[in-house]
């Protein structure tokens, strides 16, 4: 049950999943999109922080792990960040992911 504006931005490829587990604006940005991404990332950060301390891991690693999964769960047409840092559009084939994401 994603917020409609967020769902629209995802399917329109305006935002994409970064490897570090956070969302980022893809291409041209605007005030609303910026605020939307920040809002989502704040919520993700809070969740990562809470889970990281529960799991005795760094926020970054928890975030990175989530990033692996989030990218694997992108649907065709959505954007994600490839290991080389470039933005890719998800197709039906598995996404290009960081070596460490293997098996996750």
């Amino acid at each position: 049950q994603r917020d409609p504006a967020y769902a629209a931005a995802r399917s329109a490829g305006q935002v994409g999943e970064k490897m570090d587990g956070y969302l980022a604006v893809v291409g041209a940005s605007n005030a609303n999109l910026d605020r939307l991404v920040k809002q989502i990332n704040i919520k993700r950060r809070a969740v990562y922080t809470q889970r990281a301390s529960a799991e005795g891991a760094t926020v970054e690693e928890y975030a990175f792990t989530s990033g692996c999964i989030a990218i694997s769960r992108t649907v065709p047409g959505e954007k994600y960040q490839a290991p080389d840092g470039s933005w890719q559009t998800r197709t039906s084939s598995p996404p290009l992911r960081d070596g460490r994401c293997a098996g996750v």
Partner: protein, 1085 residues
């Protein structure tokens, strides 16, 4: 005996062709009948013929009669006890008859006849006179002209009874003389109950001198009628006396009557009078009647109008059997006093016209008419005609004059025609005026057979500045309906306003069937200015249209109904002495009922600072107060930077107070960058009184309907000074309501907020500026910020300018926990905010590991996406507490440390320790590993390091830290003055080394958490997951070939928060193998 035959002839010739009988005529025949009877008797008593002669005569006349002969002599015969007709019910009885015979040349003639107590009984019903057995004698056919017989008779106490349809009439006659000439006597007729064609009289008596002269019968004397009552004519009189002089001409063809009438109190319809008196002369024959009269009615009163005297003198002619009548009369009324009646009539209208220009005019008219019409007189000529063609009344001339003789009202050629079977038509001219009365002239002309046109004109009738004028009013009457067309000009005061040169066209119709209807089509009213209820119409005219097919004003059986519409209305003026300008789209007014207006724009207050109301639907009903409802209105109060829209509610305007109640509306921030999302209000109220607006409302979040705050606003429209109190009793944030749903300012700044905020705010404004302040506090607020989650924020923030979000300096907030990667608990942060953007952190302190962590003041610009630098000073960190706090059961350390950490947060909110140094205080401390050593096969150097770590005394210890708060922090620990601590395995080598100035640098690349995790994993296998679950190891424990992956991550990739590149450390140890950790428990890919 020829005489008898001609008497017989006389009587035989007396044949009255039964013609239409009239009262006077009947009276005459009555008397005639009596006299003839007397003559007949004279004939009977001829003496010299024996009984048988008389009997033969009687037999010949077939008269059943009996009589006694008292004396028969040559010249005188006396009969007694004569009874004619049925003895038990005799038609005629005579006590004694004396007849003297006179012998002339021929046959003896009748001389004097004396009748004593003759009694004649007859009946008269539906036009037939009958005396029973005497009829064949009396009414035998004869061709001689009717007339009285030439007899000399004396009647002593002659009486008769006539039983008629109209009641029983008794009469009595005494007298003597030649019947046809020279008879003189007294006649008395009494009728106790007379009932003639709708009129009845209690008792009617006639008493008079009866006389005949050369064939003409005349009777004069008083007639008295009591309780005369003609029901259908509506005429009643207590007493009506007339002394009459009646003569019947010899041939009985004509009756002449001269009477002088004198009635008592009488009433005609609802006019009462004291008396009517005056001479009446009439001559009547069976065919015609002419009459002349000069009657004077005294002290008439019709309702409240009183007429001193009313004289009618004129002539009347009835012709062709009374079927057509013509009356010509002069009417003259004097000492008329209709003042009270008209005043009474006018009184009825004083209420509805109260407060309007008509009120003074009505008063002027009333005083003028009282003056003019007191003791006024009226004279007029009236011609009335009634025949088969119908009835027509014509008054060629008529005038009402005041008591000084001046003309008040003059009438001319007033005609009223009522053709039989058709509607009445009225025409005529009148002119009124003078003495303060309105100058009105009216002319009516006949048009075609049954339509007439009546023109009315009233000159300007003024009382001070109030005047009314009727330049032209056309009244057309045809086929029973009246239509009028004209215009009224008026000028003067209206309730709460005035009308200047108002012109109102007047079209309408009246018909008996459906009453009055005015303005059946669109009517445009024009005026120089029109204002009422202190509102004046800006336009110079107004077009009012009736509902389709209807009329603007209808008055009929159901009462008065007004319905009008206009396409637009423009009003301006004062409302509750505030300037108001109002323009609207279509307006519909219905009385009884409500008024509806569409698209109403109201501008309230001085133009420069106008408060605007745009209402889509406004309804108002007019009872004692004007009230109604409005929907979909947008309100912009000038001074309050908030717009109110989609408003609906009830409104009422009574004694200068405009009240809006039960209002529901949406409040939006008029600022182009809206500082808050629209809020909804139910049950808001506003009053406007004496130029002062008071409003209060509870603001709610539209979706969740959760109460945000209560606001009461007070604003003086005159001075544009006002204030708003904002009370936030308890603003609860949770999943149901988040700050970003209230304001965009919070979006991307705080999220996942939970907790309650309360506080009060106040905004004051005046024409020059707006000031505001507020105080908001919370006792436990959790939220996630860009730098990480914050829990248990508590404290009060005082805003010196609420609207621009500027706080007072050095606001203190206690924060239970803040976790930018490393949780810091129970901190206090001091800050001040300017314009919602410039955050001045004045300091922050956290109890930390026995010491405190102090944040140095810094300046931040929340709006800009910038790196933010913080300096944290560590003061008296107690290593022991540090270890205990991290629950490192198997490690102990002592020593007190001070130092500072430079932390930088990038714009994405990721915090990094740029440089951090902790320096131990003298005399240093110890670090030792107290846990069991479970692994043996360490490499020698590892073994040495482990054993060293096992327990280490140091003189100074310096910890350098760098790295991402949320990621790996590289910690460089440098021990100086290292000696082996207690409990280490000391042997020769170690003792030697112990003296060596060994500096031990231990670089730990792990955050405190990881440190924690690592140790825990040593002791608690459960924290390790079974590689098999991860699909890395097959059930048999052999590794599964991992799917081919592209080249491993490029460590220099900026996005991956790998270890800071400051330390380009070539890892002496394989990165994935914890050096402390023996690797046999974990199989790495």
């Amino acid at each position: 005996m020829p005489a008898s035959s001609d008497i017989d002839g006389d009587i035989a010739t007396e044949s009255v062709r039964p013609k239409k009988r009239k009262l006077l005529r009947r009276l005459a025949f009555l008397l005639l009948g009596f006299v003839i009877g007397a003559a007949l008797l004279g004939w009977f008593t001829r003496e010299d013929i024996a009984r048988d002669l008389i009997g033969d005569e009687l037999a010949k006349l077939d008269l059943p009669a009996s009589y006694d002969v008292e004396q028969i002599s040559a010249d005188r015969q006396v009969l007694t006890n004569i009874v004619v007709g049925d003895p038990s019910d005799p038609d005629l009885t005579i006590e004694k008859v004396e007849v003297e015979l006179v012998y002339g040349f021929g046959a003896p003639e009748l001389g004097k006849i004396v009748l004593t107590k003759p009694r004649l009984y007859g009946t008269y019903s539906d036009g037939q006179m009958s005396f029973g057995s005497l009829d064949p004698v009396l009414f035998a056919e004869s061709d001689a002209p009717p007339g009285l017989p030439d007899l000399d008779a004396t009647v002593i106490d002659g009486r008769g009874l006539l039983d008629t349809d109209f009641g029983r009439i008794g009469w009595k006659v005494d007298g003597a003389g030649g019947l046809d000439d020279g008879f003189a006597g007294i006649a008395a007729v009494t009728a106790p109950e007379v009932q003639i064609s709708g009129c009845s009289a209690g008792t009617a008596t006639l008493y008079g001198q009866l006389s005949t002269a050369d064939g003409a019968l005349s009777l004069d004397g008083p007639v008295r009628l009591r309780e005369l009552n003609c029901r259908d004519a509506g005429v009643r009189a207590d007493t009506a006396d007339a002394s009459i002089d009646l003569t019947v001409d010899p041939t009985f063809a004509q009756v002449e009557l001269a009477a002088s009438l004198e009635t008592g109190a009488f009433s005609v319809a609802d006019a009462l009078g004291d008396s009517i008196a005056g001479p009446v002369k009439l001559t009547a024959s069976s065919e015609t009647m002419t009459a002349s009269f000069d009657l004077q009615a005294a002290r008439l009163s019709v309702r409240q109008a009183r007429i001193g005297s009313f004289a009618v003198d004129g002539t009347a002619r009835l012709r062709d059997g009374y079927r057509s009548a013509e009356v010509e009369a002069n009417l003259a009324a004097a000492a008329i006093d209709v003042g009270p009646a008209i005043s009474g009539l006018l009184g009825g209208y004083s209420a509805p016209v109260a407060g309007t220009l008509l009120e003074p005019l009505l008063a002027k008219f009333d005083t003028a008419q009282r003056a003019q019409l007191r003791g006024a007189s009226f004279t007029g000529l009236l011609n009335a005609r009634n025949d088969q063609g119908g009835l027509s009344l014509v008054m060629p001339q008529g005038a009402v004059r005041n008591d000084r003789g001046g003309d008040v009202l003059s009438l001319s050629r007033i005609e009223y025609r009522q053709a039989s079977g058709r509607e009445a038509r009225v025409s005529g001219n009148f002119r009124m005026g003078g003495g303060g009365l309105p100058a009105i002239a009216g002319r009516m002309e006949q048009h075609g057979s049954d339509s007439s046109i009546f023109r009315l004109k009233m000159q300007r009738y003024a009382a001070g500045e109030n005047w009314i004028e009727l330049p032209e009013l056309l009244v057309e009457q045809s086929k029973g309906a009246v239509r009028f067309d004209g215009a009224i000009l008026a000028n003067g005061i209206l309730p709460g306003g005035a009308a200047r040169n108002l012109t109102v066209p007047l079209q309408g119709s009246w018909a008996y069937a459906n009453g009055l209807s005015l303005w059946r089509s669109c009517t445009s009213v024009s005026f120089d200015s029109l204002s009422f209820a202190s509102l004046d119409l800006a336009s110079r005219g107004l077009t009012l249209c009736p509902p389709p097919g209807g009329a603007i004003v209808r008055q009929d059986a159901q009462g008065l109904r007004i319905a009008a519409g206009t396409s637009s209305l423009v009003l301006n003026g004062k409302l509750a002495d505030t300037d108001i300008a109002m323009s609207s789209g279509p307006v519909g007014i219905a009385y009884p009922g409500i008024a509806k207006a569409k698209a109403v724009e109201v501008v309230l207050g001085p133009a420069a600072e106008a408060n605007r109301f745009a209402v889509t639907d406004l309804t108002a009903n007019f009872r004692d107060t004007i009230s109604g409802s409005f929907t979909d209105a947008d309100i912009q109060l000038f001074a309050v930077p908030l717009d109110i829209s989609e408003t609906a509610g009830e409104w009422a305007y009574a004694d200068d107070v405009l009240t809006i109640s039960d209002a529901a509306f949406t409040i939006t921030d008029r600022n182009e960058f809206a500082r808050f999302e629209p809020l909804s209000v139910q049950g808001g109220s506003l009053t406007l009184f004496d130029n002062m607006i008071n409003a209060d409302a509870t603001l709610r979040h539209p979706a969740s309907q959760r109460e945000i705050s209560r606001v009461d606003i007070r604003h003086d429209l005159g001075s544009a000074v006002g204030f708003a109190n904002i009370n936030v009793d308890r603003l609860q944030f949770d999943e149901g309501l988040q700050p970003d749903q209230l304001t965009d300012l919070a979006l991307g700044v705080v999220a996942n907020v939970s907790g309650a905020v309360a506080g009060k705010g106040r905004i004051d404004w005046n024409p020059e500026d707006v000031s505001s302040f507020g105080r908001f506090f919370s006792d436990a607020l959790d939220f996630a910020a860009v730098f990480g989650p914050v829990k248990g924020a508590r404290g009060e923030v005082e805003f010196t300018d609420l609207l621009s979000l500027t706080t007072a300096p050095n606001q203190q907030i206690f924060i239970a926990s803040i976790n930018p990667g490393i949780e810091a608990r129970d901190g206090i942060i001091g800050f001040s905010l300017n314009d919602g953007q410039f955050l001045g952190v004045t300091g922050g302190s956290w109890p930390f590991m026995g010491g405190t962590l102090k944040l140095r003041p810094t300046q931040l610009n929340l709006a800009a996406a910038e790196e933010r630098r913080y300096i944290l000073e560590v003061d008296a960190l107690d290593a022991a507490l540090f270890v205990e706090d991290l629950e490192l059961g198997n490690l102990s350390a002592t020593g007190i440390f001070d130092g500072s950490l430079q932390i930088v947060f990038d714009e994405l909110g990721f915090g990094k320790i740029e440089s951090g140094v902790l320096q131990s205080r003298a005399p240093g401390g110890t670090v030792s590993y107290v846990g069991e050593l479970t692994y043996e096969d360490l490499s020698p150097i590892a073994n040495y390091a482990f054993k060293t770590l096992r327990s280490l005394d140091y003189e100074t210890m310096q910890i350098g830290m760098e790295g991402a708060l949320t990621g790996d922090i590289v910690t460089r620990v440098r021990f100086d003055g290292v000696k082996q601590g207690k409990g280490t395995e000391q042997n020769f080598i170690t003792r030697q080394i112990a003296d060596l100035p060994i500096r031990l640098n231990v670089n730990i690349r792990a955050p405190f958490y990881k440190l924690l995790g690592t140790y825990q994993s040593i002791y608690d296998p459960s924290t390790q997951r079974d590689p098999r679950d991860l699909g890395l190891v097959g059930p048999d424990g052999n590794p599964i070939a991992a799917p081919q992956e592209p080249a491993p991550a490029d460590p220099s990739n900026p996005n991956i928060p790998s270890s800071p590149d400051i330390i380009d450390q070539t890892n002496a140890v394989r990165p994935s193998e914890p050096s402390i950790q023996t690797s046999d428990s974990e199989i790495m890919p």
